[in-house]
């Protein structure tokens, strides 16, 4: 008995951790299992029977399809814009000394510390008083880029901080000009950070409900479709699409991790090892 007790005490932390992990994964399992459900009525809350029909019909609902299309288009555009803008900001913050750094930091932190509802409501106030642009895809894009920028900056910045600038100096010593250095040395090395930031922006954008709900006008995104459907019973296809998105995100995550490993290998190449097969060029990016 005392042996069992001691084992329990020694492993208490691990047991709690295991339970927490189970807790994190339960809803995902529920979404997955209920994507095979064959509900009797319009509410998909109780298990009735197994069917694959919703998986084969995943893209057979026009309304759901157009919502998904709007979400993907929005997320893609918001990711491209916010990643470009955010990467430039991160470069400035990590590589340059300038007046107003504290103010710039604050401008980036405060949106992350603001409740979404306040951001959504204030943007709506802004668009309402201004009277233009009319609510719809363009206001959604403005809003999504706005709340993605800070997160991109934080991710890219953390990657830049760990950057070995000797590599750029080596490139300069070997005669590359600033643009070559940036393209052939800096960019490949910070690419995982940019990809990571972009992935986060995409995930935030495609999942956003609160801010979109305020600024969408008549445009319907995937989360807005679910919210609207919740009143009248959500089709099982929503679970299927959610699982497909889940799978795609996991795959994208895996790809980013691989990229990161590659970049780490590249950065770890030292003179005593085989010479890198990349042409290394000259001066600093700036």
């Amino acid at each position: 008995m005392s042996g069992a007790w001691r084992w329990l005490r020694e492993h208490a932390v691990n047991i709690v951790a295991g339970l927490v992990v189970a807790y994190m994964l339960i809803p995902i399992a529920v979404i997955f299992v209920f994507s095979f459900n064959d509900p009797a009525g319009k509410y998909n809350f109780t298990w009735v029977g197994f069917t694959l029909s919703h998986w084969s019909n995943a893209f057979g609902m026009p309304e759901l399809n157009s919502a998904l299309e709007a979400s993907l288009k929005l997320a893609l555009l918001a990711t491209l814009v916010s990643t470009a803008i955010g990467t430039l900001m991160a470069l400035a913050l990590v590589r340059h000394q300038f007046h107003g750094r504290r103010a710039a930091n604050l401008l980036i932190v405060v949106p992350m510390a603001t409740p979404e509802i306040v951001m959504g409501a204030s943007l709506l106030s802004f668009f309402l008083i201004l009277g233009t642009p009319s609510l719809g895809f363009q206001t959604l894009l403005i809003a999504h880029v706005m709340f993605c920028i800070s997160f991109v900056v934080v991710v890219v910045r953390s990657r830049l901080i760990g950057f070995d600038r000797n590599l750029e100096e080596a490139a300069r010593d070997l005669g590359a000009n600033p643009i070559e250095t940036f393209r052939l040395v800096t960019l490949p090395l910070i690419m995982p950070g940019i990809l990571g930031g972009g992935l986060l922006a995409f995930a935030l954008s495609i999942d956003d409900f609160v801010i979109s709900n305020f600024n969408s006008g008549t445009t319907v995104t995937f989360p807005l479709y679910i919210y609207g459907a919740a009143q009248r019973g959500i089709p099982v296809e929503v679970n299927v699409i959610a699982m497909i998105l889940f799978g795609a995100t996991v795959a994208a995550m895996g790809f980013t991790v691989l990229q990161q490993r590659r970049a780490e290998k590249m950065a770890a190449i030292r003179p005593e090892q085989e010479a890198p097969p990349i042409p290394i060029g000259a001066a600093e990016a700036a």
């Binding site: 809803p27 470009a84 430039l88 409740p115 204030s122 106030s125 910045r157 919740a230």
Partner: protein, 285 residues
């Protein structure tokens, strides 16, 4: 060259700064302006109408208090649940580390609304989980979980848990384990070493995690809407309904402003306490 170098950062910062000023800072001022207007939609006019604030606060003080209570409870549970997990991942997971980190972020890969609706399924009256709770007496024989404050807090806890786990993990992971060994060499018990070395060194993670959980939780209205009842409305529900259905923009703007002000106060206290760089990472070298 040096002249050029001096203006380069401003070019790099330009687009982002303009975007954030125009679509984040300016709208906040617009909302402030709107919150001082009077009249109904169509004939709103600016009139330094501070009454919007006192009306909003006296009408919706219960929802304000409830928001902070629910968010506070969820944050506390998150903290108690996160620390052991973060500790395990940082110090004991070994080759399981990446798998555990994946499990922590996995919920983010499913749509927020869909996973909240999954909780609606899990907590509904017919669910096996609720039956189990009834069996062990935690829920009365014909009691409910769904549509109660408990369900809302459970949903908030679940949805914001990763925001607590990740910062705590990050700060634990940075601890030099030799410090803990040194404490033990100096005759600290495991418990003393934890309380006097590990815990203080992970404090920045705890503070960051607390803010990152509490802020979105206090403004949330999805959990209250899907998992609660009319008696569990939070301030987010009020703001959204004033804006979207009742079209009472000045009152909604005033409420948003109060929420923002309360939260900003917390952030400023945090920045005084931990330094803005703790949230943003290191300075340029």
């Amino acid at each position: 060259m040096s002249e050029r170098r001096r203006i380069v950062p401003y070019f790099l910062l330009g687009p982002g700064t303009i975007w954030l000023l125009l679509f984040f800072v300016v709208p906040l001022f617009y909302m402030g302006y709107l919150s001082l207007e009077s009249g109904v939609v169509g004939s709103l006019s600016f009139s330094w109408n501070w009454g919007n604030y006192s009306d909003a606060l006296s009408l919706y003080d219960t929802q304000f208090v409830r928001s902070f209570l629910y968010a506070g409870a969820a944050t506390l549970i998150c903290l108690l649940v996160s620390y052991p997990l973060a500790y395990t991942i940082a110090f004991r997971a070994g080759r399981w580390r990446n798998a555990l980190l994946f499990a922590v972020v996995a919920p983010f890969f499913t749509t927020y609304l869909v996973r909240t609706l999954a909780w609606e399924t899990i907590l509904s009256d017919q669910s096996p989980a609720v039956d189990a709770l009834r069996l062990i007496g935690l829920v009365p024989e014909n009691g409910h979980v769904l549509a109660t404050g408990t369900a809302v807090i459970a949903g908030l806890t679940y949805n914001f848990l990763p925001f607590m786990i990740l910062p705590i993990y990050a700060s634990l992971e940075q601890i030099d384990e030799r410090l803990i060994e040194a404490a033990k060499d100096l005759y600290a018990s495991s418990r003393e070493a934890f309380v006097r070395v590990t815990l203080p060194l992970s404090a920045p993670g705890i503070v960051a995690g607390t803010l990152l959980t509490f802020i979105p939780a206090s403004g949330d209205y999805i959990n209250a809407q899907f998992l609660g009842s009319a008696g569990n409305q939070m301030i987010g529900n009020v703001i959204q309904s004033l804006y979207k259905t009742q079209l009472d923009y000045p009152a909604a703007a005033a409420l948003s402003f109060v929420l923002m002000a309360l939260i900003m106060t917390a952030v400023i206290v945090y920045i005084r306490f931990a330094g803005s760089e703790a949230l943003m990472g290191e300075e340029a070298r």
